[in-house]
Subunit: 284 residues, 4 copies
């Protein structure tokens, strides 16, 4: 049995659900999951569908060609088809904080994540021992003002040579370049340590402390050119009080950051996230 995941969006129009399900049936596919959403404000239709085919006769490439020339053309679909067999490849960019790293690698080790991690990249050497202890290749790519462009070239080369599908900035602490963003649109996941859009930019816990909020948060989102303004994948919060110092907020925030980032990784790797007009549709 071969399983595919289909993601589509298009202008909302009649008969689209029936047409797609019919197409699968007439190609001997058995739909095992279907979910859909209509954005009434923008009149956009979204659908996620999982379908099983007999491995002996099914060809993913032929199927894609057929789908493209028929349904995709008829309904002017924006579409993606993934084979369940192929695990997405994720590059992990880190700096000096280890809490997200431990959380991700712990889950990776236990088989909770359906993905591969071909390498970990950092601008510092501090966390190399952790990468080593999990037996994952570690690349040290320092970033300074003068070497920024070289570093970027090295990053791109690594990403390409490892066929990376998406990048996770696990508290990477560096602004990634437009070139990288353009090459990996809605494929670079960041964790920001505030409930966006509150406290954009640097030192959000300090700002939260100063404002005297009773709730702190963390937000995972896709990186876009505007700082901390990309499509939000997942957010969570924790209650705090006047008794919490900035250091306490940072400690409590770490727990949010690691869970929120790992959840976003899982959603993305399982092809459950669609992006349209800087917002996400999440079929969970």
């Amino acid at each position: 049995m071969q399983k595919i995941t289909l993601l589509i969006h298009c202008e909302d129009q009649p008969n689209i659900i029936a047409s797609v399900t019919n197409f699968m049936a007439s190609n001997d596919g058995n739909i095992v999951y279907i979910d859909q959403h209509v954005d009434r404000e923008q009149n956009i239709f979204f659908m996620r569908l999982e379908c099983e085919f007999d491995s002996d006769i099914f060809s993913l490439e032929d199927f894609k060609t057929l789908f493209n020339s028929t349904l995709a053309e008829q309904f002017k679909l924006d579409w993606k088809i993934f084979s369940a067999e192929r695990k997405p490849k994720m590059a992990l960019f880190i700096s000096k904080y280890d809490h997200c790293l431990y959380d991700i690698l712990g889950r990776y080790n236990s088989g909770e994540l359906h993905l591969e991690i071909p390498f970990i990249l950092s601008n510092h050497l501090d966390l190399k021992p952790i990468a080593d202890s999990f037996n994952i290749p570690f690349y040290h790519v320092p970033v300074t003002k003068t070497t920024k462009q070289e570093a970027e070239q090295e990053q791109l080369k690594l990403l390409e040579s490892h066929n990376i599908d998406f990048i996770v900035l696990a508290r990477y602490m560096q602004i990634v370049s437009e070139t990288l963003i353009d090459k990996y649109p809605n494929k670079i996941i960041n964790i920001h340590h505030s409930f966006l859009p509150a406290f954009v930019g640097a030192k959000p816990y300090h700002s939260a402390y100063k404002r005297g909020v009773k709730i702190i948060g963390a937000t995972s989102h896709y990186i876009t050119e505007e700082l901390d303004a990309g499509p939000i994948i997942e957010q969570d919060v924790a209650h705090v009080s006047h008794t919490h110092s900035i250091k306490d907020l940072i400690a409590k925030g770490r727990d949010l950051e690691k869970i929120v980032l790992s959840n976003a990784i899982k959603l993305h790797a399982d092809r459950k996230v669609m992006v349209f007009n800087n917002k996400t549709v999440i079929f969970s």
Copy 2:
């Protein structure tokens, strides 16, 4: 345009999604919502679908007859079809607590609930003024050991004469009879003031206090013959500490009870709840 909601469940089997969507299309229906779930443990397929038809030519009764003799028979479906036009009728059973009552009636008044409340029934007169202030008929049906059966007969007569679709026990504080449960299976919603299955039965806040829990909860569920053991619709919790007295737990719990019960009412009234084998599938 006439909109229907279809709820089905059956043994999981190939091609069911395509067959149902195809049926709708071939009857000139346009599917505007579809969601499905497969219980892999029990091998049961569940689906909720909303479909629009041209009011000029669509007949709900003819459609039901056709559906029943074709798809329903072919796949051995357990099915229900509701017209979106017809708001369900809800009877509200109360006793002396007013917090759930105010919450429900406030929402009802503001148009948040898609249902009708033909009457409120209570075994006490205390809350009649509230019913009056919202202009909803109030029936006083006292329940004592000796009059229990008469009271039940009066309840049944009221429910039938008002064509009641479902009953909400908004802290009614009385055990309802088997006769009532049999006549309204999975149609009597109760709010229990604990996170079930913890603290079944009377005085759960007292038990929670005694056990020293750090979290209290509330659970809305359908009434079945076994006490507090029916299918759970919605639950929520709140954090508490050693500083909370039993009175504090009761006060904090009231906020949970009213929100959880109102959410359950909305889900049921919008036909988003399916029950199978004492568990719910909730398409939200």
Copy 3:
């Protein structure tokens, strides 16, 4: 037995806790509650203390005079002493939304709030029937561009003649004047329908929808001259998804608003909130 609540803050300094507790003991008081907080950033000490005295010999006024001329002078205290006997008087300002109003009055009726509501004031007549059904005097003070100042004068007169201690804006939807804010500093509680500082100003649910956040919130805070920037008393949030329309966010938000506002009212009425430098210390 007469119970007082003492709130103090001052520059942090040695021996202050022992001195205050000693003062109470040497005046035949028995401390039944004590909590304190030190803001290490600003080096400010905060304390809340409840103390019981023998009613036969205790005079609140004498006690205040003595406290003022001794401890308060010695430690340069900013202090307030309340008698537990005197319930604070709260004026309720409303407009056309009824969810917070019902929630507050339901709690008031059931004895959950330790305060008095001498009157409800609104710029519209829509909710007068609710005030009537709870037997609370209702004043209609319309506010238009031309009558704004007169309206304010009328408000002030009503507040003074009823000895109002604090004001609650239960979705009042009008910007209150500087005069009012100056007369009731940190005594006007507002409910803002977002998790501040995100989405300051009008239509926060529309902004939240547009940004695609996965969490919405509500914030109760004291009104200051800067819009939505006053000291935060309480916040809460709810998870949302792409399936929620703006209308859904508004409905879900109503549940947050009413609970968060009522909690803030309780904290303020129980003298558990201290304000310093635009932040709150909450002894709960």
Copy 4:
């Protein structure tokens, strides 16, 4: 400067707060933290106090002797005094699950925990590499039916020779013996993977799935002789739905377990937990 933490409980009685604070002042101590609680049901007074003394002249032993012969005797206090300098020593008992272990060691490494971990003990060898990578001594003490008593003796010897203050069962999966419980009363912290008292005993996620709950939880508590019935330190929950399989519940639960257990460890190590009559008072 030397800082001590004092924990006391006793029958509630007048003047106790003033007497204790006075005692500290008259011994040249400066109170920097005080919190108290009265359990009105049981008439028990609890207090936690932090006090600073001049290191040059302060002797902890002399202070304890004086405190014991005066205040402790006068008020019949149950008391403990800890020096802030001495970090508590924690033994970590594990089995085959690594998520709690990674979480604890990650925090330990980053300096978030104020404690020492002299050793990790397990009945299996699987997780030894993790202990090694964090450079913490690992003892393999297998437990079988026939070797149970020997194993227990070995455990006790290790605990004593390392001067262990408290034990954490990080998903240890073995029932610990009465002997161990007696030697470490309210000093063995367990993590149970349900919101107790729901789903006591084995396989709580399976039971939760079967009951169809909409919320799962985790509970950290002190081990007592009755299974899963000891004093609760911390609990947290997560919302789930019909879409979650047992495997999903287990994965989601792991996130709860690790955060809840680590929080309990922090509270205990910071001497913020008091136990009385199978319930906890937590001064946070």
